[in-house]
């Protein structure tokens, strides 16, 4: 597998950083170009290093068991750590990925260390918590105060949902400006590399860090909000945690995994009084962006988030839920999308016991009913599921093989190759 030298292309007010990928044996539906696109005004942040393509590209190499040749410059520090990184990934997912050799054409770091501090900004609990912890009021060290939030299209919002992305982007830009940071909207097709092959819920780490590395010309630090706390990380394997993420640092860009010391309910508690969080929180799996209440309030994630907010008595302050809890009885909604295998349920009961003990019987009833529902769904035979799809059940919006690709941008890149001198 060859990862070619990254190139920059300016088209229609956007800067596109891209690299061609050549496979030893061309697999089906693998992207030929990996790309990141952002508005031209942010092009100064784009890094000419290959690090940004190597990190996610490595997953494909490890999955296909193809040695990797990197034609562009790679950070010596990153190269040093990738051996151990691969070892750990293989140890955690031995059936999915295996270590491969990487051949570097040039080991060089960026010749300067930028001062910006970036973080991913999805509007979720984890990213808002990380943001609030790195605002000047809470973070005394100036070099660790976030300067940029990166909002990614092509990760939890698909390229085909561009309208939704723009809708949120506008809200987030305003919120970011209020807290003194700049929002960088970044589009990418990186997830196409692993889509349908490796589960994104496990392998999202290199995608986020690859995106952070694409902005290495502007960032000296990039903070990855933790999705899991230390206790959860002990039990299950992921590709983003306080051990793995720092391995993907370079001499000039330090990767910091933040927030694993806190449970999700503790994070909710910390952001509950923050006006920005009240205005922009977005946790929903079935989002609709026609109005300002973009959290459906029914999916597992919405309910899981509303429970601690209601327990804290802050529900009415969060404006982005379509049907916020209003009475204790609303806790029964939990049954509707309760997932007995989601580890977050466990932390909710002690939290509610502490803050709103009178609500516990309702939540217990919700969880009990939900468990019955959950088992029934798990036991639904495959052919019934298939049949139910015609009615919109068991359908995944990102099931399409090209769900994470934007053909228009790939086309622009291809055309640029066609017109470039041989």
């Amino acid at each position: 597998m060859i990862i070619h030298q990254p190139e920059l292309l300016n088209r229609e007010g956007y800067a596109i950083l891209h690299a061609r990928i050549e496979y030893d044996r061309q697999p089906a539906i693998f992207p030929e170009y990996l790309w990141y696109r952002l508005p031209e005004q942010f092009s100064r942040l784009l890094s000419p290093q290959s690090d940004t393509f190597l990190i996610p590209g490595l997953l494909a190499g490890m999955y296909l068991e193809e040695e990797i040749e990197v034609r562009g410059p790679v950070s010596p520090k990153l190269a040093y750590h990738l051996k151990e990184y691969q070892h750990l990934l293989h140890m955690r997912f031995p059936k999915l990925v295996s270590p491969v050799n990487i051949h570097y054409a040039r080991l060089e770091s960026l010749p300067y260390r930028p001062a910006g501090v970036g973080t991913t900004f999805s509007g979720g609990v984890d990213s808002l918590f990380t943001l609030i912890k790195h605002l000047p009021g809470n973070q005394a060290a100036p070099g660790f105060q976030v300067t940029h939030g990166v909002f990614i299209e092509g990760f939890d919002i698909l390229p085909g949902e561009d309208r939704d992305f723009r809708f949120l982007q506008e809200k987030y830009e305003r919120a970011a400006a209020e807290v003194g940071i700049e929002l960088v909207p970044l589009e990418t097709n990186i997830v196409s590399l692993i889509h349908k092959r490796l589960p994104l819920s496990n392998f999202y780490g290199p995608v986020i860090i690859g995106a952070g590395q694409s902005l290495a010309a502007g960032f000296g630090k990039f903070i990855i909000p933790s999705s899991w706390d230390y206790k959860q990380l002990q039990k299950k394997a992921y590709t983003s945690d306080p051990l793995l993420d720092p391995f993907l640092s370079t001499e000039t860009l330090e990767m910091i995994h933040h927030g694993a010391a806190y449970t999700r309910v503790e994070k909710v508690e910390q952001i509950a009084d923050w006006e920005t969080a009240q205005k922009v929180l977005w946790v929903c799996e079935f989002h609709k962006y026609e109005k300002d209440t973009w959290n459906c309030s029914r999916c597992e994630k919405c309910v899981r988030t509303m429970i601690p907010l209601f327990a804290l008595g802050k529900m009415e302050k969060f404006k982005t839920f379509e049907k916020p809890f209003k009475s204790n009885r609303d806790g029964l909604w939990w049954a509707r999308k309760y997932s007995a295998d989601r580890v977050f349920s466990k932390e909710l009961f002690p939290f509610v016991r502490k803050h709103r003990p009178g609500w516990l019987p309702w939540l217990r009833a919700g969880a009990a009913l939900g468990t019955v529902r959950w088992i029934a769904i798990r036991l639904t035979p495959g052919f019934v599921r298939k049949w139910l799809r015609r009615y919109g059940y068991f359908v995944n919006s990102n099931d399409a093989p090209d769900a994470y690709e934007n053909p228009e941008i790939s086309q622009q890149i291809m055309e640029s190759y066609d017109h470039s001198p041989a």
Binding site: P76, K77, K83, E84, M91, Q139, A141, P242, A260
Partner: protein, 418 residues
């Protein structure tokens, strides 16, 4: 707890960097001063940042739940990471340590741009392996080749065993010269903060990393050789692991925890033809500290190391074992000090099955007998254990008040203060 501004002192050809420690409440056997001592010729490498004292001092603060006031300058990056570091330590070891507040008087990085790469070197399998992997022949990236190694007195060799320390030091100095690495002998009393109140095997990392920060003018990177590998880290808890150690990096010094991807037997396998390893391996703390022996060949660690060497057919090439295995039957020695809790048993059997399956029956017998012995020894009633202490059994020499202190230097620093 107050950690005062570090000071440099030249005395009898040595450079001493020390900082006064003030506890809010008086605590038994806590040193008044933390100190490091090196030969004068290395003094230009020493840094007077507070980092080298804050890192080990934090353990005491966390143990006694005393907030810390730092009078010296501390690296902003270290200060940022210490919040997470404390949370992580508390998560791993909730009983002995709890997060505390640290108040900094000055947050500034060291105004230097060092180029050296250091490591601790004890002569054991792990430190040899980290060294081996960072020699130019094995490590093509120039910035990741080791230039200096620290050899500590007051860590696994006590101050009272100085003659033994000096002999080993001179041996290792000559050996490392052959691979263009300079050995720096370093003495310290940092361990006194930890022993006897916390388990040294859990909390040794801040001592090693604190020592690295002392050489802030020299090191840009410092390798901490792993003790537990990634498989053991799933079950075992220690303050030194690939997640926690890098959190103790500063703006100018990156701490790298190295070697956890490789199991101990694999390390022996990889290095067993290296003559420096064969002639200088030291895995043992002999019962008689005055002896010249590097490896007694009887203790658990010696036997655990000799098993893969013997299985690989290289035993006769290793010159530092007092009684090397000569026949398969000798593997029964394993029973004598067998300790399954060390978690190395699980790697020995698959390795031997692959390398030399003929030895498996002997190992099985040894481990069976060893299990029996282990339980007998550990289930002996406490009164009986106490009675046996008069014959030298069940005695922990490290719990002695001055085990990790040089009383003469401690007294000198105290009198100077007065």
């Amino acid at each position: 707890m107050i950690i005062h501004q570090p000071e440099l002192l030249m005395r009898d050809g040595d450079a001493i960097v020390h900082a006064r420690i003030e506890m809010k409440q008086s605590r038994e056997n806590i040193p008044d001063h933390l100190w490091y001592r090196v030969p004068e010729q290395f003094s230009q490498h020493l840094s007077l940042q507070g980092d080298a004292f804050l890192i080990p001092g934090l353990l005491a603060g966390m143990h006694f739940q005393e907030d810390i006031e730092m009078r010296g300058t501390v690296s902003p990056r270290l200060a940022y990471n210490l919040e997470e570091y404390q949370e992580l330590l508390h998560f791993l070891l909730p009983k002995p340590v709890t997060p505390v507040k640290i108040n900094y008087s000055r947050l500034e990085p060291l105004p230097v741009n060092p180029a050296g790469m250091g490591t601790t070197f004890s002569g054991g399998v792990d430190s040899f392996y980290s060294l081996w992997k960072h020699l130019p022949g094995n490590q093509p990236i120039p910035g990741y080749q080791i230039t200096h190694a620290l050899f500590l007195l007051g860590f696994d060799i006590l101050h009272e065993n100085r003659p033994r320390y000096e002999k080993i030091q001179s041996r290792y100095r000559d050996m490392l010269r052959e691979v263009d690495i300079e050995l720096i002998p370093l003495e310290t009393n940092l361990v006194r903060l930890i022993v006897p109140r916390m388990k040294f095997t859990h909390f040794y990392a801040p001592v090693l990393i604190g020592s690295a920060h002392l050489f802030g003018n020299l090191f840009s990177k410092f390798i901490v050789p792993n003790s537990n590998d990634h498989w053991q880290n799933k079950r075992w808890t220690s303050s030194s692991n690939p997640t926690s150690d890098p959190l103790l990096s500063s703006d100018t010094l990156t701490i790298i925890h190295h070697g956890a991807s490789t199991r101990r037997v694999e390390k022996v396998d990889e290095m067993c033809d290296w003559d420096l390893f064969q002639n200088n391996l030291r895995v043992c703390t002999p019962e008689d500290p005055a002896s010249d022996i590097l490896n007694c060949s009887r203790c658990e660690k010696c036997v655990r190391t000799m098993i893969p060497i013997y299985a690989l057919g290289k035993m006769e090439k290793f010159s530092t074992f007092e009684k090397p295995f000569k026949t398969d039957r000798d593997l029964l020695w394993w029973a004598r000090k067998f300790d399954h809790t060390k978690d190395y048993v699980v790697e020995v059997f698959p390795f031997i099955r692959r390398i030399n399956p003929r030895l498996i029956p002997w190992l099985r017998i040894a481990s069976l007998a060893g299990y029996g012995r282990y339980w007998i020894v550990n289930l002996l009633p406490k009164p009986l254990q106490r009675w046996l202490q008069r014959y030298g059994y069940y005695v922990d020499k490290l719990n002695h008040k001055t085990a990790y202190e040089d009383p003469e230097l401690a007294e000198f620093l105290r009198s100077r203060e007065i």
